[in-house]
């Protein structure tokens, strides 16, 4: 459920330290329900820690996506425009949202591991 090769944030997002890809966790997609639209940033956009880089809409709710690190948007997942359901069906794989070029790998180290995130979820629910 929470692959250990990824790192996690309290806003229920994951980042892959290798590729720089960012997405939302399985818990997040469950809470949001059927996702109907994703607002993606432009490539090349500079992001500071906690900046809003996108918006995810389900039928009855809206959620901002917060950047877990400082960096620059390298690419965005265009498939989400045609098929936002990928976020529900494949949140860690085909449902990646953006790929970021980050400068400081230590920022990622500070984030939660898969096991830490699992513990965090138990506290939160």
């Amino acid at each position: 459920m929470y692959p250990n090769n990824l790192k996690y944030t309290e806003q229920h997002e994951w980042i892959d330290p290798e590729s720089g890809k960012i997405g939302i966790t399985n818990y997040a997609q469950e809470q949001l329900g059927d996702i109907v639209f994703v607002e993606l940033p432009d490539e090349g956009k500079e992001l500071a820690l906690d900046d809003v880089f996108g918006v995810i809409e389900s039928v009855k709710s809206v959620s901002d996506c917060f950047s877990p690190v400082n960096g620059v948007v390298k690419s965005v997942n265009e498939s989400l425009t045609d098929d936002p359901s990928l976020l529900n069906t494949s949140p860690y794989d085909e449902g990646w949202i953006i790929q970021i070029d980050f400068s400081d790998a230590s920022e990622i180290e500070k984030l939660m591991s898969g096991d830490d995130y699992k513990k965090y979820l138990e506290e939160v629910s």
């Binding site: 109907v36 639209f37 039928v59 009855k60 709710s61 809206v62």
Partner: protein, 451 residues
């Protein structure tokens, strides 16, 4: 006992018992004692239906209305023929005593009505999509300006024609005056149309949008194709405004020329003049701006059995979900008025829309030619018009209108309070409700007054 409140004293005591209190006032004990009202409100005593009917009849008799007077008045509200079935159908309780269709399974009547309305209005306006309604044309226009500013992000200039309906201008000012938007007025030329040179010279990277009303407030038909040509060079939005929706039965819409947003007033399409409201704000846009559109949108879908149905959709733009980041604060709109319009448009159909628009055009043209030939009266602008035109009068307009009133006619609008340079000018409007005899009689009276 009140006929709208079924529960008797006996019912109330039984309920109080279940609730566990002695009296009704116990349920209000959390209101600070100093605030509780000790005496009844100072309102007139309740009336029975017989008395109320009499009272309303008496009050209404102090108004002139189109069942007894002939009207030549327009300027944003129009006396048109309303087919008898419109009132009968919207008087069905299932339509008018229903709420906003948030529970789609029990609101398919309302929802399908909205879907059909959206279809016909977007066809009439020549736009990709239309919303379920705004309050009126003026507030729809204000919201269009705000929407264009949200989308463009860059720039703060908004170009508005001087020949825009003054109420629309005023409402827009109220909505935008603290937003940093800078309004620039495009003058009208000698033909009563938008000054194209001024437009060309004032378009730049800081321009968010250019608005055009067609026909404009003076009744003149704008050269939309040239305006669209000028705008092609830049990135600014074109906002089209139509205050006389019936004109679209015959005229090309600004949507035809690439308007990004089109707004206007739908009252002409089956809604009574009713002293200024309730009316119907039309709001349409290109499909790429769908997510920035204010107000409700109805979309087609399927139920669990695969049956076609309709639901409110993309609601995440709206206030109940997006709250302070919503595209607008609008909640209740003009739902029943949109239904009236849908029924009107269905009844008139392809042919009827064109026919009634043509009748307006012919009558207005007849009147225009006749009035300009009455001694002392001049047509202010030669530009072709639809059903409204501006006439310069030889005597003060109050005198003319007073004389007309004596003949049970309500004359044109004096617009000099908004356009001091157009003093003693009257805006005359002719619709399908006006007869040839009425027009001839009007001209006789105009002639008399001029002497």
């Amino acid at each position: 006992m009140f006929k709208y409140i079924p529960n008797t004293d006996d019912d109330i005591s039984k309920m109080l018992e279940k609730i566990g209190v002695e009296s009704v006032d116990d349920l209000f004990s959390d209101i600070p004692e100093s605030l509780r009202l000790q005496k009844p409100l100072n309102l007139p005593a309740p009336l029975s239906e017989i008395e109320l009917e009499r009272e309303l009849k008496e009050i209404s008799s102090k108004n002139a209305d189109a069942s007894e007077y002939k009207y030549f008045t327009g300027g944003g509200a129009y006396n048109h023929y309303i087919p008898s079935i419109v009132n009968h159908l919207i008087s069905r309780a299932e339509f008018y005593t229903a709420y906003t269709p948030y529970q789609p399974e029990v609101s398919q009547g309302t929802l399908q009505g909205i879907f059909e309305y959206q279809t016909m209005i977007s066809d009439l306006l020549e736009m990709d999509l239309a919303n379920a309604s705004m309050y009126d044309g003026a507030s729809a226009f204000a919201e269009a300006v705000l929407m264009s500013s949200r989308i463009r992000k860059k720039g703060n200039k908004v170009l508005i024609p001087k020949s825009l309906n003054p109420a629309y201008r005023q409402v827009m000012d109220t909505y935008t005056n603290n937003t940093g938007i800078k309004v620039i007025e495009i003058p009208y030329n000698k033909q009563g149309q938008l000054d194209l040179d001024f437009l060309k010279n004032n378009l730049d990277n800081e321009t968010i949008s250019v608005s055009v009303q067609n026909p404009n407030y003076f009744g003149c038909i704008e050269d939309l194709s040239s305006i669209a040509e000028v705008l092609k060079q830049g990135k600014s939005f074109l906002i089209g405004i139509v205050t006389e929706a019936l004109s679209l039965g015959l005229l090309k819409s600004p949507g035809h020329y690439g308007a990004d947003i089109l707004v206007g007033e739908g009252q002409s399409l089956g809604i009574p003049v009713s002293f200024g409201g309730p009316y119907l704000g039309l709001f349409a846009s290109k499909k790429e701006y769908m997510r920035q559109v204010p107000g409700r949108l109805c979309g087609e879908t399927l139920d669990t059995d695969g049956k076609r149905g309709f639901v409110l959709t993309i609601s995440t733009r709206e206030q109940h979900i997006r709250r302070e980041k919503a595209t607008s604060n609008i909640c209740s709109n003009q739902g029943l008025c949109a239904l009236m319009t849908a029924i009107y448009m269905s009844t008139m159909g392809k042919q009827g829309m064109r026919e009634v628009a043509t009748i307006n055009l012919q009558k207005a043209n007849y009147a225009r030619e006749k009035i300009r030939n009455v001694k002392g009266y001049e047509l202010v602008f030669e530009t072709p018009s639809f059903n409204e035109f501006l006439v310069k009068c030889p005597k003060p307009t109050q005198d003319i209108n007073r004389k007309l009133l004596e003949n049970k006619m309500v004359g044109g609008l004096d617009i000099s309070c908004y356009y001091p340079e157009l003093s003693d000018c009257m805006l005359f409007t002719m619709t399908e409700l006006v007869s040839k005899d009425d027009i001839d009689r009007l001209c006789e009276i105009l002639e008399e007054v001029a002497k």
